[in-house]
């Protein structure tokens, strides 16, 4: 559904076949794991079997003696970092922590933590040699739970961590001794005590969510060549070639210009392929051997040693008047950061009340180290956790007050001008429109009958980011345009960028040939993340197209011998005085005779996004004998601003929903008391399969974002936020049980159902 003053577009809103499609359905596309180089060696990592231990000694002699082994490296081969904090394009990072995560120095902090690496003639020899590296450990007590890790007597992971306070902390933390609490956030708005005093109903609950993984199908990989001239080339799957380049350079302490990252096709990321793990190790092995070295993780390594999203403990309190107006909200949120600081708890604090106009609010957040892998971004990082808490409390309030949950949301929804609890004021946003879309949907209007069936709704918010992008575009003599960009394409963005260039030039999408290139071949471009590529790289493409327009106008003016001011670029045509006219293709054929090649360039760096909202509706059926939840029907309404390629917008919405369903119903890191993950395979971790889910019905709401020339809003992340809450609400309406723990897996739900029948 389209809203408001939508301009007619010729290319935008159509559904061309993606430019990289033929390669991807024939097996020709080259992903990171498909890299082969002459003389290439294969590597294997040595990983810790303990969740928390001191490294006493490492003996690599037996491994080095195995025929076919070419090199072994440990943290002793990594340059010292000191106490540097470096901005890496995905936020600042403490380099001492980052390097210790690549190859452990004095301690291992999670099972699967890398301690050494081997390069050999083939992968079998490398794996055999890895087993021959003798590491002596002094095993320490692990701490696996965020609340346990916050206690004064908890085992300490990092001796150098002191609590850093952001916002007006009530009392300054003890800086004299190490702690697992790396950060303490505090956001306040208004007078919370006054707000709760005005409330007729106050609901407060505690919530727990399990650590979950992004689950991309392609394992991490990197192939590195450290050449004799000191230049390093990395071929890898990454969400951001420039941040991968910078991280690798900083970790190896070489100039950033001596590293070239070649982004191969990438098999999913969802935030998990921003941090580097393998490239510096492959580079060190290459320097030692003088040959290219390829490293690839096993599936268990991906689960145990990359960057999942935190588990959490949250306490949330909401006050409302009898007629359903929110008066105050208070949240206490603790995230397990994993081994090193850096969970997205700060963003969770900013998201928790973002869907609503909360006059008085207070949010506290804690970033806490535990003996699990260092967490990383996962699709709207932090927002899904808090949406589960706030959106189930809203549902409970509506039930207690007898209000329709969508009318309650409309009454309290954030709008243009609403001030968030963390400070910023919303520009034009589409929260209200997504709620209205669900309210008016055939799904919400339809009856739902049958035992143990229930319907739930929930909303969600994500910021979306702008950041930096570069595009260059060359006009070919046949009137096509070659587009060069630095944004790695994970879900069809070559096409959504090409379509914006095509729209601006007034040519067909098929007449643009987009290519993603390496870090030596395009200007700086930030990660494919933050729902930013179609927005920000799109702006850069529009700028490049306008640059081409200006040059084409000059060429036409030259040919017609008129002042360029007398030439107008209009919808793929150049219009001159006295009815003179060129089509884009006609003029393109003349460019070599009028001054040579035309290359347009564009960048985006200052634009920011207005934010994305979605509202979801789900019907479930609960089996009260087993606790299994079946999704019967699912509808998502989301504000896409302007949908450039509707099929890929729908695809993001559907994919995000199904990831959210997995998070809600199945997925969790399942640890034993020694800190060993017991389900580090797909079969036991249990991603949703196509047999678990129905078709996902989509409603694209379009409230154009004025910060983008075509009104684009990023669509990738926010669809994952509402599903756990929407499903929890549906479960309540099916069987009368309020779930406050994720996942709502059969055993967890069944125990709540049995509890309810006992009470």
């Amino acid at each position: 559904m389209a809203t408001a003053d939508k301009r007619p577009y010729k290319v935008i809103g159509t559904r061309p076949v993606r430019h990289d499609g033929a390669d991807k359905v024939t097996g020709r596309a080259k992903y990171g794991g498909d890299m082969r180089l002459t003389g290439m060696l294969y590597g294997a990592m040595v990983r810790s079997p303990h969740a928390h231990a001191r490294i006493v000694s490492i003996d690599t002699s037996q491994a080095e003696a195995l025929p076919g082994v070419r090199a072994v490296v440990t943290s002793a081969d990594m340059p010292a970092q000191g106490d540097r904090v470096v901005e890496l394009g995905e936020g600042a990072a403490n380099m001492r922590h980052l390097t210790a995560n690549i190859l452990a120095r004095d301690k291992v902090l999670y099972r699967g933590h890398a301690v050494a690496a081997v390069a050999a003639d083939n992968v079998h020899i490398a794996e055999q040699a890895a087993r021959l590296v003798r590491v002596e450990y002094e095993v320490l007590q692990p701490v696996m739970n965020v609340l346990d890790a916050m206690r004064d007597d908890a085992p300490i992971l990092n001796d150098d961590v002191r609590t850093e306070s952001l916002g007006a902390a009530p009392q300054s933390p003890d800086q004299s001794r190490p702690t697992n609490i790396a950060k303490h956030f505090l956001f306040e708005k208004g007078d919370v005590a006054k707000g709760f005093a005005e409330a007729d109903l106050v609901i407060e609950h505690e919530f727990d969510t399990a650590m979950v993984h992004q689950g991309y199908i392609e394992p991490h990989n990197a192939t590195a060549l450290w050449n004799t001239d000191g230049r390093i080339t990395i071929w890898m799957s990454t969400q951001g070639s420039f941040t991968a380049r910078q991280q690798t350079a900083e970790l190896l302490r070489v100039p950033v210009s001596s590293v070239k990252v070649v982004p191969m096709e990438i098999g999913g990321g969802f935030g998990g392929k921003i941090s580097v793990y393998l490239p510096p190790v492959a580079a060190l092995l290459s320097r030692k051997t003088g040959r290219p070295v390829k490293l690839q993780m096993s599936r268990a390594d991906v689960f145990e040693a990359t960057g999942p999203t935190p588990g959490s403990h949250m306490r949330l309190k909401l006050g409302v008047t009898r007629d359903g107006r929110i008066t105050a909200g208070e949240a206490w949120i603790a995230f397990d950061a994993g081994a090193y600081p850096g969970s997205p708890v700060g963003m969770a604090c900013m998201c928790v009340f973002a869907c609503y106009d909360v006059p008085h609010g207070r949010v506290e957040g804690f970033d806490v180290c535990v003996n699990k892998p260092r967490t990383n971004a996962y699709r709207a990082p932090g927002s899904t956790h808090v949406a589960f808490a706030i959106e189930t409390i809203v549902d409970e309030i509506c039930e207690k007050l007898g209000l329709d949950p969508l009318e309650f949301r409309l009454k309290n929804a954030s709008r243009e001008g609403t001030r968030r609890v963390d400070g910023p004021v919303f520009p034009r946003i589409g929260m209200v429109e997504t709620v209205q879309a669900i309210r008016d949907s055939q799904h919400y209007q339809s009856p739902l009958a049958g035992p143990c069936r229930g319907r739930g709704v929930a909303s969600g918010f994500w910021f979306n980011v702008g950041m930096k992008s570069s595009v260059t575009a060359t006009v070919n003599l046949d009137g096509t345009v070659s587009l060069i960009e630095g944004s790695t394409d994970i879900g069809g963005t070559r096409t959504s960028i090409a379509m914006q260039l095509a729209e601006t030039l007034g040519i067909a999408a098929e007449d643009v040939n987009p290519t993603v290139v390496d870090t030596d071949s395009i200007g700086y471009t930030d990660v494919t993340g933050g729902s930013r590529v179609t927005f920000a790289t799109g702006i850069a493409a529009v700028e490049a197209a306008r640059d081409i327009q200006r040059q084409m106008v000059q060429r036409a003016a030259l040919l017609w011998d008129v002042d360029p001011a007398a030439v107008k670029y209009d919808d793929g045509r150049l219009l001159g005085p006295a009815g003179k006219q060129f089509t884009f293709k006609e003029l393109a054929a003349e460019i070599h005779q009028t001054g040579g090649p035309i290359i347009g360039s564009g960048t985006s760096s200052s634009a920011t996004q207005g934010g994305a909202f979605g509202t979801h509706c789900v019907d479930v059926e609960v089996d009260p004998e087993t606790g299994k939840v079946q999704i019967l029907r699912y509808t998502i309404a989301q504000d896409a601003g302007t949908a450039i390629h509707p099929s890929y917008v729908e695809g993001q919405m559907q994919g995000g929903v199904v990831q959210g369903i997995g998070w809600a119903l199945n997925e969790e890191y399942w640890y034993d008391d020694r800190g060993t993950m017991r389900n580090a395979t797909y079969l036991d971790y249990r991603l949703p399969t196509c047999y678990d889910v129905p078709m996902i019905e989509t409603m694209i709401v379009e409230v154009p974002d004025p910060q983008h020339p075509y009104g684009v809003r990023g669509v990738g992340e926010v669809p994952i936020c509402p599903p756990p809450a929407a499903i929890a609400n549906a479960i309540y309406h099916a069987v009368g049980v309020r779930m406050r723990r994720l996942p709502m897996s059969p055993p967890n739900l069944l125990s709540e159902i049995l509890q309810r029948f006992q009470d």
């Binding site: 097996g27 390629h645 399969t689």
Partner: protein
Amino acid sequence: MAKKRVVSATINGEVVEFLCEPRQTLLEVLRDTLDMTGTKEGCSNGNCGACTVLLDGRPVVSCLVLAMEADGSEIRTIEGVARGSHLDEVQQAFLEGAALQCGICTPGFIMQTEALLQANPNPTEEEIRFYLAGNLCRCTGYDKIVRAVQAAAQKRLATT
């Protein structure tokens, strides 16, 4: 390390001979020895289906087949699906239906779909979802994949 042996198989219609060790999987030989990297590796323990190929017409996860077991067999991989430069109905339907995002699972889904439509040319949605449940996709939520399979089936039925 056991000695390498010569294995002979028909791959995408051509007789291919290769040397392999007993411990090497069909997946490893396809990708590393024969440089047919269209068959993808997602988990190497049979859970994800990205490495699905047809072995004597049957869909198998090639990470759980030893290369030596393929001796004398007929193998079809993603590289053998298109007819010359023409995509087949399944590939075309995946493209037109935007049934892929990152594309890493796509070769496995296409091979599994080829096997499905061979066995059942007009499957219901339920039958499609059941048959493809061994292939994991993390990007699409499966909606557009199931629709692409339905579209490919209809196109084949209309033309045969």
